[in-house]
């Protein structure tokens, strides 16, 4: 009697599990936070599958995934961190999704007017906010400053932050004289002014690869969302945030 009760109980529990809604986890570069969250909400309305978004610096996310964090998708702000996961055999599929531009921003009421990147060496720029070096935004910024030949002069004034939004926030608060963030970040707040766009030739192309993480027990819903991220609806939401959508390239 007891055994059959146990069997019935287990059967009920298993059927319960089978019909439990799946949750997809996407680890997204900080700069894509709002766009990805909007796309996730859209997907949820359409399919009923719940999607959680974990936004942080791509460097932080990549390392979390490498250490076994629960991620189905990874949207990186540079190829490097997608390569990092590929080297560890964690990439099931990958495609370039977005492009972005790097800009120099200043607090909205700051008296300084910068016209060229070299103007950052001006004595009035006492503090320059950059993301940390492993963070894509920080890397593109340092690359630009080095290629422009002004890194040695400005590096003493650099204040570093853990991700591109933290960098943006400190400029918005007026605690620094200038910062280097993405054009999409600058558009997200009205407390900063875009002083200039960094010439693209000064740094590697800013590309955001989308990775479908290779993991045991990955669900078909993850792949569905992976494809949805490249759909017309998703493209529209990305463009609305200011990203450029690249032609999908499969690796």
């Amino acid at each position: 009697m007891k055994r059959s009760l146990l069997a019935i109980g287990l059967l009920l529990a298993l059927t319960g599990c089978a019909s439990k809604p799946q949750t997809i986890h996407i680890f997204a570069a900080m700069s894509t936070k709002e766009a990805v969250e909007a796309i996730a909400r859209d997907f949820e309305t359409q399919t009923g599958t719940h999607v959680t978004c974990n936004p942080a610096a791509s460097s932080t996310l990549a390392q979390q995934i490498a250490q076994g964090a629960d991620a189905d998708l990874f949207l990186s702000a540079d190829e490097r961190w997608a390569d990092y996961l590929a080297d560890k055999g964690l990439v099931a599929e990958r495609r370039d999704l977005l492009a972005n531009r790097l800009v120099v921003v200043t607090p909205i009421d700051h008296p300084l007017h910068l016209q060229r990147l070299a103007d950052l060496t001006d004595g009035k720029v006492k503090r320059l906010a950059l993301a940390l070096d492993p963070v894509p935004a920080g890397r593109y910024a340092r690359e630009s400053l080095k290629t422009a030949g002004i890194w040695q002069q400005v590096k003493e004034r650099v204040h570093e932050y853990g991700n591109v939004r933290a960098t943006l926030a400190v400029v918005a608060r007026g605690e620094v004289d200038a910062g280097m963030v993405y054009a999409t970040d600058a558009a997200a707040t009205d407390k900063v002014r875009v002083a200039l766009e960094v010439p693209e030739k000064l740094h590697a192309s800013i590309r955001y690869p989308l990775v479908l993480v290779r993991r045991s027990g990955s669900s078909p819903a993850a792949r569905t969302f992976y494809d949805f991220m490249d759909s017309e609806k998703a493209h529209a939401l990305f463009r609305k945030a200011g990203f450029q959508v690249t032609d999908a390239k499969r690796h």
Binding site: A62, Q63, Y84, L132, D133, K155, H159, E160, G162, E175
Partner: protein, 233 residues
């Protein structure tokens, strides 16, 4: 690897942390002595409120303390805006901010130890000095303080150790600059970078941090016990 197995940049972080923490503790010492003595020797209206305020940095999330410091002393802060506009003086995101953050976090520990130290000193010694003609400050400096010195030094060491490891408040208020990072920030940054070279550096710096903290704690314990023993003698 550099000296004793630590990379140059990591040594710099250790030295910077030790330096700003020392400055912070030394700067807060007069206030710590005053408040510790006050809490030990006097009762007054609002004493409980004062005690609560002094203990806040112990219980508030450090990030909150850092944020409050920023609101007070940032370029656009209540006090900081005036300092910046009138004197061009900056506090937030400088070494002073690192010292201040460490000092604020360690202050409750300093006051606590000082208070206990003075509670263990018989006030009649100072009264005797006063009756012989010494002024109040003179009596304090030449009689009470020397008698309380073990407990006070224990408090200084403890506050120093606390300031050494400060992270949350420092990160928000003092930020991070290459070449001018505190120990905890350097550890955090090493952790954020992948690769065996960084992993090794991280381990070594962690070990150095643990050793340093242990030494400070042991010294503090020893001094406190010496102070207690002398009182019972």
């Amino acid at each position: 690897m550099g000296f004793l197995g630590l990379a140059a940049e990591d040594w710099r972080a250790l030295a910077f942390s030790a330096g700003v923490s020392a400055v912070g503790v030394v700067g807060s010492l007069p206030f710590g002595l005053l408040l510790g003595w006050l809490l030990a020797r006097r009762t007054f209206p609002g004493k409980t409120l004062l005690e609560t305020l002094l203990n806040l940095p112990l219980v508030l999330p450090p990030v909150v303390t850092g944020y409050l410091l920023l609101v007070l002393l940032g370029r656009r802060g209540w006090l900081g805006a005036w300092l910046f506009d009138a004197f061009g003086m900056e506090v937030a995101f400088t070494w002073m901010a690192a010292a201040l953050a460490g000092a604020v976090m360690g202050f409750p520990l300093l006051v606590r130890a000082v208070r206990v130290a003075f509670q263990g000193v018989d006030p009649r010694f100072a009264q005797a000095a006063r009756s012989l003609g010494a002024g109040p400050l003179d009596a304090f400096l030449t009689v009470s303080l020397p008698l309380a010195r073990h407990g006070v030094i224990a408090g200084v060491v403890l506050a120093f150790a606390r300031g050494l490891g400060e992270f949350g408040a420092t990160l928000l208020f003092a930020g991070s600059q290459p070449g001018r990072r505190t120990l905890a920030v350097q550890l955090y940054i090493l952790h954020e970078q992948p690769g065996d070279a960084y992993e090794q550096r991280l381990w070594r710096l962690v070990t150095a941090a643990i050793v340093l903290s242990c030494v400070a704690l042991a010294a503090s314990e020893y001094l406190e016990r010496r102070g207690a023993r002398r009182d019972s003698a």
